[in-house]
């Protein structure tokens, strides 16, 4: 009976999927491609393909609790959970991402991109400045991965818009310094075994993947 049911629905389902892929792919392929690129231009939250034992929830990471209010000034009266402040930062990133997808490129959106690059960069620097073993915790590792990925993605966007009269030389230098510092930290953590290429997923910025590929783990500081 089950075999009959399967045979009965198999042909129409295959025909429908096949038809959809051919016709839909032909019509929508360029749009889908742009959408996927746009979605990941700000860096994925955390890799969808990462090992869940290695990558946890960045918003509840203890390192975010230690660092988020150092990089985000919400005013003296703002009483907020660190995970909520992290959410605010991510929501700002989402807004910038949507502006970028819509092709908006004015002074405001460019300065917002620069601010986001700086904020994610400061957050990543603060996380890496803590004890190296902190990144053995999956939530902390997820926060480090997300902050680093987002920094490089926004830094790239500011660089891309540098041809236009947007980012000043001093801003570019600041971004470059943070970038160099983070790459150095990434190299160290790659050697310590606290970060591996798979943690960053397939859509990670090229700078990160290059470090992950070129360096080798020399020890595992998470093993006790």
């Amino acid at each position: 009976m089950a075999g009959e049911i399967f045979r009965l629905i198999r042909t129409p389902v295959i025909a429908f999927i096949g038809g959809f892929l051919v016709v839909g792919g032909w019509i929508w392929a360029p749009k889908i491609s742009n959408l996927v690129q746009g979605l990941f231009s700000g860096g994925p939250s955390v890799s969808m393909f990462a090992d869940t034992n290695r990558i946890g929830r960045p918003e509840t990471a203890p390192v975010v609790r230690s660092c988020i209010f150092k990089v985000m000034d919400l005013g003296p009266d703002a009483k907020m959970e660190p995970s909520a402040a992290y959410f605010v930062l991510k929501a700002g990133s989402m807004q910038a991402k949507v502006s970028a997808m819509l092709g908006k490129s004015d002074r405001w959106s460019e300065s917002q991109t620069l601010n986001l690059a700086n904020t994610w960069g400061e957050l990543a620097s603060c996380i890496y400045a803590l004890d190296d073993r902190e990144l053995c915790d999956p939530d902390n590792r997820a926060a480090a991965v997300e902050a680093t990925t987002k920094f490089f993605a926004y830094a790239k966007q500011t660089g891309a818009s540098a041809g236009k009269p947007a980012i000043s030389a001093s801003d570019a230098r600041v971004i470059e310094n943070v970038s160099d510092r983070l790459l150095l930290m990434l190299k160290n953590h790659r050697r310590y075994g606290t970060l591996v290429g798979a943690d960053f997923g397939s859509f990670a910025p090229a700078e990160i993947m290059q470090v992950m590929r070129s360096e080798q783990a020399t020890r595992d500081i998470c093993k006790r």
Partner: protein, 193 residues
Amino acid sequence: MNFLVRVAFVLGGIFLGVNLINYFVLGHSGDYLPAGERMGEWREAKIRAACYPALEQPERDGQLPKLSTDKHRVDWRDLDRAKEMTAALNCYLVTHPNAICERNNRAYIIDYINRYFAKFDEMMNTAKRYGESEMSTVRDLWDSPRNRAINAALMMDTGNGRLIKADFGWTVPAAMKPMFDRYNGTSDNCPRA
């Protein structure tokens, strides 16, 4: 015959799809509670609107759940939801103890009780990953004076037959099973109109 089977498959697929979307996407789990003379239409429950003021400024209520420590892994959205659900259920069961006697209210409240315990279970499952100390933090969070009042009200409502096991159908929350086992067969003491 072949044509009829195909039509039945298409209609069955549509029926199943619509119900899955209704339950999992729209979250209308109240539609799937057992029907009967005790249960009304959850959408028509007046208690829902009557309790809106209780949800307006939960931060002013010092008896709602709060975290006992700064070192926790509770997401702020879960924390807000725990407060909101506690404030609402406290209003449905404690502030308005007779609301559950009305059929529509009963359907809505039972659905809400299911959601309340499901949220607790979900937060405990997340906390399990972090060990006993995190589980204890979540347990403490859900043990505020309002949560204890809700538990007492649930105990009383099962004791006096205002809530019975059959009202929940196949979705009896684990925390309520001992109460139903204890008060099995108790008759309803709701005031008759």
